[in-house]
Subunit: 428 residues, 4 copies
């Protein structure tokens, strides 16, 4: 996913996903319901985008890849918007430079909603009038548009959290937190997995991104995997043991980051007289020792694993370990909007899906035989396959139904602003 977005190459779809399309479109609006025009406009760092931009760009996507080519007589809402809300598709011409996305105070959030309404209306009309041939042609593009928008829904949450964390008043994104009784993390156990040749990746039915395929055989060795994510309690112990001040625990680049950035705790942690707090979608709150540690970089995850005498799993191991599990867990659908302690009723089995994206030890590379799709749609995944690491499993900010076992998310090893955590592994 990354700031970049990932796209599927091709797929065979059972039926036209009209309902999911409009439900997804509505969900984006729901996510910004409590945000002001200003909240939706400001860009808090180069890696992040304004909420308004996410709303507009996902709309541009339907204009650029569906309406423009397939809706007879479609009039683009605005040439200016077309330029402003392209993200990084070199094939689609000039676009507004990324670090200046936050300068666009106009169009306003309200005008962007009008833009969305215009496009939704055109989509509705197109869907209603398309013959069978066109429907078949549109189905994969619409599916792609849905998934693309879902990815931006997750980024919208991570980016708004980053913005609010810059505000010394620590505003809360979410007004009402679901009442969940305090929960003690369970599951401090490990599972064992056999070695051998295993099939991984995706090329079957249903939607998937091009980077998940081709499905292929992989050779693995016997391994063991923790049944839960590393917790804040674990992390506090790591810190108490000198984590951020012992060079030999770190990758060389990681140690450089620690010193250059002054890291001494995960992102958004603030030490107060009454202990450590972390900025969240509910504002600044005391650390819950039972919850999984969140907003750590790959460097930190890797250092923790070394300190613990373990290692991170490879993405293959992680995928193999999901066999037999359905991709359910604490994603946006639970309404929690934060990672919950292992064993929580809202969480998934062995905490494999939801809660937090899990750093793996695998560099983000093409699978054997991978070929990007032709044209603009092919720019999405392949061109990011360098210097990033794979994360698996989805998070509490991932839209309902958007995660699966083969899903490959990817970020740079210094990134911390996504809902990221880690799970330990070891050789069997």
């Amino acid at each position: 996913m990354a700031s970049p977005t990932a796209m599927k190459a091709d797929t065979a779809l059972q039926e036209f996903p009209a309902e999911r399309l409009f439900e997804t479109r509505k969900q984006s609006l729901r996510l910004t319901e409590n945000l002001s025009d200003a909240d939706q406009t400001v860009q808090s760092m180069d890696d992040a985008s304004p909420a308004k931009w996410h709303l507009a760009h996902t709309t541009w996507f339907f204009e650029a890849f569906i309406l423009r080519d397939h809706a007879p007589g479609y009039q683009p809402y605005s040439d200016d918007f077309f330029y402003l809300f392209n993200s990084y598709y070199e094939n689609e011409g000039e676009r507004h430079p990324r670090p200046f996305r936050g300068m666009i105070t106009r169009p306003s959030a309200s005008e962007v909603r009008d833009y969305r309404a215009h496009v939704d209306e055109a989509l509705e009309k197109l869907v209603a009038t398309a013959d069978e041939g066109l429907t078949e042609k549109l189905a994969p593009l619409v599916e792609l548009g849905i998934n693309h928008e879902q990815q931006h829904q997750e980024l919208l949450l991570t980016d708004i959290l980053h913005l609010f964390a810059q505000n010394p008043l620590y505003p809360s994104y979410s007004v009402t937190e679901p009442k969940t009784a305090p929960h003690e993390a369970t599951g401090d156990t490990w599972s064992s997995f056999d070695g051998g040749i295993r099939r991984v990746g995706h090329d079957g039915a249903g939607f998937f991104y091009d980077n998940e395929g081709p499905a292929h055989d992989a050779l693995i060795r016997p391994f063991r995997l923790a049944d839960r994510l590393v917790t804040n309690r674990d992390w506090l112990e790591f810190m108490a043991d000198g984590a951020y001040s012992i060079a030999t625990l770190w990758l060389s680049d990681g140690w450089a980051s620690v010193n250059r950035e002054g890291w001494r705790a995960p992102l958004y942690w603030r030490e107060r007289e009454d202990g450590w707090h972390q900025m969240s979608l509910y504002g600044l709150r005391p650390i819950d020792p039972d919850a999984p540690v969140c907003h750590v970089s790959y460097y930190e995850a890797e250092a923790f694993a070394r300190w613990a005498g373990k290692r991170l799993p490879t993405e293959t191991e992680w995928e193999v370990a999901t066999e037999g599990l359905s991709p359910r867990g604490n994603t946006v659908g639970t309404g929690a909007l934060r990672a919950l302690p292992a064993g929580h009723p809202l969480g998934g089995e062995r905490q494999m899906f939801g809660d937090l994206w899990e750093w793996t030890a695998s560099a983000y590379s093409p699978y054997p035989g991978f070929r990007p799709a032709e044209g603009a749609v092919g720019e999405y995944n392949g061109k990011f396959m360098i210097s990033q690491m794979v994360l698996r499993g989805g998070s509490c900010a991932t839209p309902e139904g958007h995660i699966r076992a083969t899903y490959r998310n990817f970020f740079y090893p210094h990134h911390r602003w996504q809902f990221m955590g880690l799970r330990l592994a070891e050789d069997a």
Copy 2:
């Protein structure tokens, strides 16, 4: 003025400026009437501040320097606001780092208006109930608060212009431009002035900033001064003659800026198929050759003067040349909101006041015998007396009544975002 604001040292005031106080407070709100929450929130560069911040900071000023100390039982509106909206007064404790002013999406523009109303109400109450002794004590502080707020009114306009200039849609700040017939610049003549010892600076009656005094004798030599500002027509000729590509026309630091920043025209100029345009408070508009050239740095002004075989005036010369003139011209009161051609009915005599701040050849240094005021109020001018150049005369963005002959504005030689131009001088 600068991004910093300047403060007066002491003054003898005829009467308590209650009416001007509340009129000034209202004027700030008028200036932001057409701005959205988002427009007022974004910070487009480190040198600029959000409009909302200007509205809040000028309000903080009255809280910090008047209400807190003199209004019995006054309750500060919010401790958070007190921290957020301090600017750079080291004496007043910790404050929010300047480059992050644009992250503050909350409080909203509307909440800041509530803050303003709260403080205005308290000020009204204080004014209404103060006895004579207190009134006398408050008068200079209120006068200072008025002038401080006026300075921020001008910055608000220059900062919003900078923000809108980053938007490829070039939005207009002002909806209605006053209809003024096209005007041909007149006054391509020069005036001569005698040399000798002249009194400059201010320490008489009425308000003035501490950096305008002490009044003192200065020795000048006979000189001549152009009766108008350099025009866009002049500048286009300069450009056609190779201005931005001839190293020997430039100060060494200026030439480095030209190359590092890629300058090839004044700030906000855009070349289109039908010629040069400039971003303005009315959006992007074709260059008016008769209007004074605006948004040039000191480096550019100095290079132009060298190219023209002339020089810039010193601030002493400029001040001497205003003798007999009243400080009237095209400031905000005319409603033009842009620099007008010389000789325009709305402009001042010899274009000395209003239209554009004029770069002088004088470095911003303390006058002989200058001592900053004690305490926080003394931080305003003295600490900026290094590496900046003096500008004189006020601009089309300067509030009505805010300019005078002794007024010393100051900016760094690379700055261009204020309403800045130049006038030529030569030895007699």
Copy 3:
């Protein structure tokens, strides 16, 4: 290898390598014979080190890891040198910051030679007097010291080339170039390899670095590999076809590098009236179209492969393709000091060893089961296993006898100053 150096973990050695030790020590001196004190002192970029530093650091290595612990009564040559010439061993205490290595004009090159002589003498004495137990203990450390010094010999050449390339006079490192008749590149053919489970990596007899092990099974698919490196002629065609100006040919990070750095040809290329030249150890010379293209980044290599409709080989494929070959080719021993056209009598079979390090498609990650050695010696490889790519095969600057099929070199994808090139691969 990288600016970092790689170290072996453990090994079983047949005999004590005394002769190779002193031969290696002499070879380092030979490489600097034609360099002045100044040539040996200047550091031309953060990634490079001064020649003098290489000479001293490799000497420090023997002091720190052998003499200090094992030579009875050994007196360190100088405490200052011990601090100055540590590289990055966090376990070994404070050290001089890397970017300031070029500030050390004293000790002089001649004093560093005295330091070397002192240490060589102590090593000779130690070797002569060690009993069998000590000899057995020392053998792997000495072997490590030899290999460490050989790595720095290669870096010394790449770093001096970088330095000389900054000099507009383009000085020549090597006075006498071996007369080799112009040679037309041959071997524009491809070899095919079967898929299956193959054993790769090293854990047998003889020296190897810890990152080459453990030996393990890898699953590969049938593939084809070009029998020669990509040539300058190929590259000129790529350039003529718009290489450096077509965004869609590039990885996203690569395209950013192209634009930020202004790349429009490989490193050290200069366009003159009579065509392209490249700085070399013999000064600036016209491009030989038959020679392999040298000094390209991973980004460039990957873009070329995409343009050519092929891909880069994985490191596993590369290693599998060396089966049956002895690790011989155009390394330093041939005296060529430049990459030669494919098929040249001095080159290796299928150009697999020597000439140029070959970028592979593999990120530099630990092999399954990899554990770094304990203590300072363990800092060499593991801590660099992030964000770098593996290169294979050695180069014309690699010391004689230093290369082997399992050898993993690694650099960041933007690096270009090593003797780096590429070979194409494709799925069978």
Copy 4:
């Protein structure tokens, strides 16, 4: 002087300065006698130049401005050198970028000496054979060349000190320090000066730089000036009183420098267990409390003056205060190569000349009526007249005979690497 060099405009010369020319040329060689090839090659920061470059550039100056135009049949030593050793004369064509001066390991120091010998020989021949007309024409150019070379002699010393200060071994530039008995600073007294109109600047007989003229009347007010420079003892007291941690003592830009650069003492100060030391041309030595404080920026000087309740003198005041003094003091001729306590027998009266350049409160601006000379020679002073401050009086590194009362040196307010100090002033 500055990294820039200053040049005179015109002058009436009594006689042809042949002897001084060749003495000056020899003196440059003497200054580098103890420096190795490497010492002379490395550039330790952008503001500094290698010693070898100073030797070559001053030689280039004679080639470019005298030999090329006036010596019949003169053959330039090398086209390459002509390019390499131009400094910043835009009129003289392309030149080697300043930050890369330290990459030029070849030509060697010895080759640069050959270059010097070649040019000296040609100069000798030219002088010997010139007729009266030519002699008259050459005299001012030669005088300029002498003064230019003297300026570079001073820079050579400040630059080599900066280089050696980067070396943790703190090498000594000067082998033999003249034995001077410890001296207690005297002269903690003040002198008073009348106000009125005074003649300052230079346009009389003898050599002077164009920026020293035209001589002109200046109006000053009565003032008092300390009879000695501020001492290390004074500075330690300032530091003990919180100097580097009290924001309100500083100019705003100065405070930013303190924090950005981590200043907590003058440049080259190192705190050791036995107290503060300072790097000097004799290596690292304990602070002498009686010696003047050296290597402080304008920001520090200005903050000190504020702390002391005084101010810095203007350059006019400083110049007026030298009336009746001959320009003698502790310059290079004394052999001390360091600033000596006030009242030292080798020092000048009231410490006005020599010991340290004194920061004044005056920005470096053109004098009234100043016009730069035509052509390349005119590039030397005028183009630096922005953002720098004037220093007066010469230093222990200034060549014998090079200083005078009207001499205007100039550096940026953050500069510290010259031999710079301060003297206090106050209104009478």
